[in-house]
């Protein structure tokens, strides 16, 4: 089983390159059993969304 450090690294790299099948399976199994990493994954999706708002200037609509 991969560690949380490894799992978060894969979740980050998922935005940069295509993960291998083996990596995707390892990640899926890990997150099924790890609430911390499940939360991390959701937060990465949120960060992406926030970054998109930011770069479009929508964060300035304060």
């Amino acid at each position: 089983m991969i560690s949380c450090k490894e799992s978060t690294r894969l979740m980050s790299e998922d935005h940069e390159r295509a993960l291998t099948l083996r990596e995707r399976l390892a990640l899926r199994i890990h997150t099924m059993m790890c609430l911390g990493c499940t939360n991390y994954g959701k937060q990465m999706v949120f960060l992406r969304k926030a970054a998109r708002r930011y770069r479009e200037g929508k964060h300035g609509d304060r």
């Binding site: 450090k5 980050s12 911390g36 991390y40 930011y54 479009e56 300035g60």
Partner: protein, 202 residues
């Protein structure tokens, strides 16, 4: 702000909405460039480009998004021009003091230390429409080690791909991924501590 076809269009520079957009553009450029004078130049260039290319302007609702797209292009151009002057070896120090910080998140086997385990954020999307959240977001970006923040912003805010960032900074792909992983993890942690904790933690 008025739109007239064909160009030249007349933006009214004292229109409050333009003043606000200009202010936000300047703040964005300063975050990316960390140089007030160059940031000012980039915003001026973007405004001039906007005035001379109004055909790209799809409508008032999209105006700010369009202005920001032009500004991002100007900043990217600047980075591409000036990257060659920055020796890559200065960028990544072999002895990395930040790595130790990152490692405290995990135990020896690489599992979350209990205090550092990501919590459940309830309704994070609601934060996106709150002014204070974005102030915290800026603080958290600034809290990242400078080069980590720089790579993250090039990737996520300027939308350069990893390969180009690596080339510009003279670092390996793998190094780039490590830095991005650290940036995302640091940002996540900071937002949790400074915003979501107490606010909305389950």
């Amino acid at each position: 702000m008025k739109r007239q076809d064909p160009a030249p269009t007349t933006f009214l520079w004292d229109d409050p909405s333009i003043i606000a957009i200009r202010r936000d553009m300047l703040r964005f450029a300063q975050m990316q460039l960390r140089d007030a004078a160059i940031a000012e130049d980039m915003v001026q260039e973007a405004l001039i480009a906007a005035m001379t290319n109004t055909s790209g302007f799809a409508g008032r609702a999209a105006f700010k998004t369009w202005m920001f797209a032009i500004l991002r292009n100007k900043i990217v151009d600047h980075i591409r021009r000036s990257a060659r002057e920055i020796p890559g070896s200065d960028f990544v120090d072999a002895s990395d003091p930040d790595a130790a910080d990152f490692d405290t998140l995990f135990d020896q086997r690489g599992f979350w230390n209990p205090d550092e385990r990501p919590a459940t954020w309830s309704d994070p999307d609601a934060a996106l429409s709150q002014k204070q959240f974005w102030a915290v977001f800026d603080i958290c970006l600034n809290n990242l080690p400078e080069r980590v923040a720089r790579v993250y912003m090039m990737r996520e805010l300027l939308e350069l791909d990893t390969a180009e960032i690596c080339r510009q900074l003279g670092i390996s792909n793998n190094n780039c991924w490590v830095i991005l992983h650290r940036a995302r993890t640091g940002l996540r942690e900071c937002l949790e501590n400074r915003w979501f904790k107490g606010e909305a933690l389950a």
